[in-house]
Subunit: 166 residues, 2 copies
Amino acid sequence: MSAPELHPDLTLLGPLLGTWAGPGSGSYPTIEPFAYNEEITFGHVGKPFLAYGQKTRDATSGLPLHAEAGYWRPAGPGRLEVVLSHPSGLLELQLGTIEASGDGGGAVIELRSSAVVGTPTAKSVTEVHRRFELSDDGQVISYNVSMAAMGQPLTHHLHAELRKQG
Amino acid sequence: MSAPELHPDLTLLGPLLGTWAGPGSGSYPTIEPFAYNEEITFGHVGKPFLAYGQKTRDATSGLPLHAEAGYWRPAGPGRLEVVLSHPSGLLELQLGTIEASGDGGGAVIELRSSAVVGTPTAKSVTEVHRRFELSDDGQVISYNVSMAAMGQPLTHHLHAELRKQG
């Protein structure tokens, strides 16, 4: 089947479409720092949302670490809603903004959790902030994630820099 | 890469692994009845969860209808936690049970939402029950979904019967 036309509400989010890969690093007061390789995919089916998936592997062993799956929804001009599931038993509802930046293909996305819900066996996470920056003519995504978890205040947790594949 | 070994906590859930496809039908007091074709995939990476994805298409037009993505986690013997994201802006946290049934490869899974969270632009859903039955020597999944939404009490919403592919 031919690819469907991009929904007009996705104009600002369109540059995210595709597969992105690169290295990242994580830290948190309760754990040892770690390094990972990540792959993110954004897809669409012609409707006004992007399907989002993310997987990371340990930079040394290559073994699977984390994953996330969910959807990004435009919610009016420059506004975003993101719903995410984690295999660790967490659900994130993120609200935020997307703004074009720079001369060509750049954008800044700021997301803040309005709800974080965990299953009975999940670790306690109460707040997650995510900031994505699209740069280098839309060829690089870098992001920072901060979280409040395990009794810690909002603290930097993850940073990665991913390059568009293919 | 070779497929990783199934985590021992996934023994009961293992028969779900793979791709399932078939027809379904939906109804609800607030909408016209509809027919769809569905594909579900369950995957694993060697860790104690299954990655779950679902997509439906209109039975007549073939256009995309719904999708879901999330993770299924064993939470002690016969107990399950499921986290799901919907492109409609909903998050479901489901808790329930899995029990082997019949002589070979059968199982019954009962899930009830302990939380349903929606973005500001999502429709109001307050409760979702899901029942899956694995039968025919583990070759068929049928399910029923009921939900309380848009001011309606818990009401039957979806039924489908999917056959294992490949």
